[in-house]
Symmetry: C2
Subunit: 235 residues, 2 copies
């Protein structure tokens, strides 16, 4: 039986052997939810980049750019980090360069994995089916918030571990914690997250509708997968 493990913050990535594993990067609020939404709505490819400078360079190359820092759209770029911004039919067939505070950084740090995919509540069921077919050991890398553990990504890791419980054994106690957190709060995740730091930050920006959307399960069947050239494409 294959294993599932959870890396609770990008700071801990060096402690994981990722070479033979599938990494699921998750940044529920909101980077990976945006990636899933974009590819589900016809965006062709997403290039995750670590810095604003790299995003600006891609803008000069003619790519559509999405840049977020500290929960807000960064000045001078085309899009911020709201999933609703990625539903625009004009984006269909286009390539987007994306940089966010935490989510894209986790993808970059996980590069040595055998395979990187992107998860969120929006594609939970499709992701679980993908991982089951793939049949390799899985590490869920929680993007967290500036290297600290966050509640929503851990909650998602627990939800995924619960969905895969019949087919993947727990590699580590961090999976137990994530699952416990999910089992305790699955009836009302929003109530639980209401006490979290990033929830308060987004509410302060008037983004409750983003939160509500990102917590919806199985809205899309799309699983973004990092290809050999470093672009996320729909699988």
């Amino acid at each position: 039986m294959k294993t599932i493990d959870v890396c609770l913050t990008p700071r801990l990535i060096p402690d994981f052997k990722l070479e033979d594993k599938v990494v699921v990067v998750v940044d529920v609020l909101r980077a990976t939810s945006c990636m899933i939404t974009a590819l589900a709505h016809g965006v062709e490819r997403i290039l995750p980049v670590a810095t604003l400078e790299e995003a600006a360079a891609q803008q000069n190359r003619g790519l559509i750019t999405c840049a977020e820092r500290d929960g807000r759209k960064a000045e001078g770029f085309d899009l911020g980090n709201s999933p609703f911004g990625f539903m625009d039919p004009h984006l269909a067939g286009r390539t987007i360069a994306m940089t966010t505070t935490n989510g894209t950084k986790s993808i970059v740090l996980s590069r040595h994995a055998a395979c990187i995919v992107v998860g969120g509540f929006l594609n939970l069921g499709a992701l679980a089916r993908y991982l089951t077919v793939k049949n390799k050991d899985v590490v869920v890398v929680c993007a967290g918030w500036k290297d600290r553990v966050n509640a929503e990504d851990t909650l998602f890791a627990g939800a995924l571990a619960a969905k895969l419980a019949d087919r993947f054994t727990h590699a580590n106690d961090s999976v137990l914690l994530a699952r416990s957190c999910w089992e305790h709060n699955r009836a009302n995740p929003k109530h639980f997250l209401a006490k979290s730091s990033h929830f308060a930050r987004l509410m302060g920006f008037g983004l409750e509708k983003d939160i509500d959307f990102c917590l919806r399960e199985d809205v899309y069947h799309t699983v973004p997968v990092l290809d050999a050239e470093g672009y996320l494409v729909a699988r």
Copy 2:
């Protein structure tokens, strides 16, 4: 209102500003449970040391030595890491040098804190009262297992945060996770821990009675505090 935060593994200690804070080091199975037990039974002082070599040097100075690696007593030392070993009346008034796989390391890495105390279920109530009177920001440092998160120390962090909820606000999402884990499993912590890696390891060594003892709440009123010379003494 003061804050409580949780550092889920020693690996994350550098991300915390400990200078003005009280650090509670916890290694439920079994280092900090042993320290509480020893001081409650009359041991005068405990010198936590990081390596077996340092412990051996203290043995040559005439101290009683306690050394554990990978869950077992290390060869050539007086005591291992079972709380029952520290109830011996012959230890009353003596000084013990102690090194364990995870617990003593966390104390050493937290040295820059304003104050270091030692916690476990055995002294949960007394510790909560001590922290309330102290009235400084608190960081619970979970010793984990070889730099990985573990279930029992996170569970304890959640139990302490729950006890202090009226007087300490949550500094960070890691407190939410620990509390959720505790609330979900408080009715039967042993059932939850039965799925954890270290539980299985200790059960394999025939140490179920150690586990049962370490999970008992409020057996002792002793709060071990690190003094200016680097010794843990009963407060």
